[in-house]
Symmetry: none
Subunit: 224 residues, 4 copies
DNA sequence: CATGAATGAGTCTTCATTCAT
DNA sequence: AATGAATGAAGACTCATTCAT
């Protein structure tokens, strides 16, 4: 019972009641749905099949979610936030931007290895954004935060003189892309790529590619 | 009605009649289907809609293809081979493995830029491989050839002393992943990443990351 | 839960508790339901929407009414009795059958004008009597009392010599029909008919059509 | 296969092909649907039940009609046009407006008597126009033409001096209303009203109510 | 008295596929 | 070689109703 009938604008704020049991059910459904999608593909993940996986009736899903689309949206949010939270925690533990960058890449792969299901589901969902707008919206939700996180690290690293003078935005896209691209191959066939080796390779590579050859002096503070 | 007549594995050879007009129709349908998928997503690309795009009747598709799945398979093949042919041609023009590697990356991005539709469709299709087997099959068709191509370049480069002593297989996966990962972001939002800049960044980076610091001497004959 | 306790025919008398608050709730629900139906049609008036309009939970309705059907039945009763009471009061104030007839017609239209919602809802509900039996039952509840009322006026008017020798039953049906038919058009489009003008026209017309040309002498005693 | 996928404006003109068999099916479905609605009510007339009545599969209806709504719309059109055509033909046979008016009323009732099913279905459908807009649209389709037809007769009758100086528009609404109102009671219970008697009563009454007391002199041509 | 949660029957609709022409 | 017509399976969704709290 999400947005009820009220078709007025209000929705996000407060979100009505959100009982404890309600939230629990939602999480349970989301989790089961991820499993269902991961094992059979998004197309096969009908409400019926998901409900079956949870062990409830189809209409329970309709009761807790405003429709299949809202469920999928929530799945996306769950998948992204789980991963982001993990990575961010690891990054925050490190001091110095080179270490943070390394942590970002390593944490990304570490999380992957532990949550294969999430990523298999994610790749299946990727294809479901039919319209250009939906794709763009997904980009805004999924990629922009990651890239901005990376960008912040890179930019600060430049200010602190650890990184050389590249375009932070482009490098952020490149780093995130490298991680996702390797992930993608691994999703399609777990045995096709060695996640750990790729992680190591990328870590070294981007460390090399970002480092300031001049040493630890701040880029902006060239007036030593 | 394709495999009704020849249910054995082989496909291209024999193929009963394969009239000229027949092949033309098939290509026409495949091309239109790609456009349809790219513009509205795979889910919206029903036979009806594709037929509409071509300007023919639904049943024509059923007539020429052994079902929707065969059509999509053919689309995948078409998408991959177009791209691979282009890249391979560019790579073959170059002498020396570092140049070939550079060509591989640059050609990949060049082809993307010219055929956005192909990649948008591809990403949509990615999600449609529901089962683990289907995913693995796609990996075999789509990624293995690319990685093997890269691997061959890398390995030969090592033999010729241009490249350092990395694991070719892992680096191949990493390179291909970097290209695809950037592509992915660009598919979701054309304006989110600058394809050319990323290409340049990756080219430099992988050149840097593969080069043999010792110079042009062959890796195997290092202890000379 | 109404008839669970008393599954025999009788309804009003006994009715178990019929707390004051209980009756209030029922009336409140009925009133809100009328509004809901009038504004969105019977089909859209689900228990959920009605409950929403009242500001209570769906199950409250199920608690107070023995199902959706009982609710609608009660709505019908409410709509009819409100109107009938009003008309009857006006008619009773008049002396002489021609005046009573005029009052009947004028009161009908006066009530309409003041309670548009009621009639919009009524027309929507009309269509919901699916079976022949349900329709006949509605006829017995809704039309027979009205026609009998009119019939009584007409017959007495004939006895008193004010009206000519028509068939009271038929004329009653005709008068009631004229009122309802105009109302119907007005329900579909408030601006399409001028209620007051139609009322005036009908009043004059039926006065003309019922009057005894011979004057005030009683019909039965015509040969005096 | 009505409006296909093309969501551009064009639709009504040409209407694609409209094969002979296609039109036959549509008529067959419409006819059966009317029967279904008349016998069980609109709510019970699901696509499944209608398809059952025709003896076809549910999806055949979806194939020939753009959805349930289009089917119902077509039913409305069919019901109205059948009746209107019949009445118009009868009216056109008469010379002189008083005769035409009499013919209009008599034809209305004659058609009713022969096509009870149509009117039972119609009354059921009346309630299905939920929104104000839908109601207004129905008014425009159903009532306006009738009223305009009557209005034309009345106005011409005034010009020719047969009718007195009433407001044509109001009287048209009143006449149509009287017919429909009687019909309504008859729909709810066939035995409750005597159609023929009501028709006779109304015919006389409206003849009386419209006639110019001054005789056959044209109203406008007062300068005798 | 009231409610949140759950249910299952039933609705419309879409789709790939088949078949006679 | 092509098509219009038909089909049945499956989908998402809505709704009145029930039940424990």
């Amino acid at each position: 019972m999400r947005s009820k009938i009220t078709p007025d604008g209000r929705k996000s704020p407060g979100r009505k009641k959100s009982t404890f049991i309600e939230e629990a059910r939602r999480r349970q459904i989301v989790r089961s749905a991820i499993t269902t999608i991961a094992s059979g593909g998004l197309a096969q993940a009908s409400l019926a099949r998901i409900a079956d996986e949870v062990g409830i009736s189809k209409s329970v899903i309709s009761y807790h979610f405003d429709g299949r689309d809202e469920l999928i949206e929530e799945i996306v949010v769950a998948l992204l936030s789980e991963s982001n939270r993990f990575i961010r925690a690891r990054v925050d533990q490190e001091l110095g931007c080179p270490a943070k960058l390394r942590a970002y890449i390593e944490a990304s792969f570490a999380f992957m290895a532990e949550h294969r299901e999430n990523f298999v589901a994610m790749v299946d969902i990727w294809g479901s954004f039919g319209t250009v707008d939906a794709k763009r919206a997904f980009n805004a939700t999924a990629y922009d935060p990651c890239r901005r996180h990376l960008e912040a690290i890179l930019r600060r690293g430049q200010q602190e003189g650890d990184f050389r003078g590249f375009t932070p935005r482009t490098l952020a896209a490149t780093i995130q892309g490298s991680i996702d691209g390797v992930m993608l191959q691994w999703v399609f066939d777990e045995g096709a790529v060695d996640l750990a080796e790729c992680a190591a390779e990328l870590t070294i590579m981007f460390d090399l590619a970002t480092r300031n050859p001049a040493g630890g002096a701040p880029t902006t503070g060239s007036g030593e």
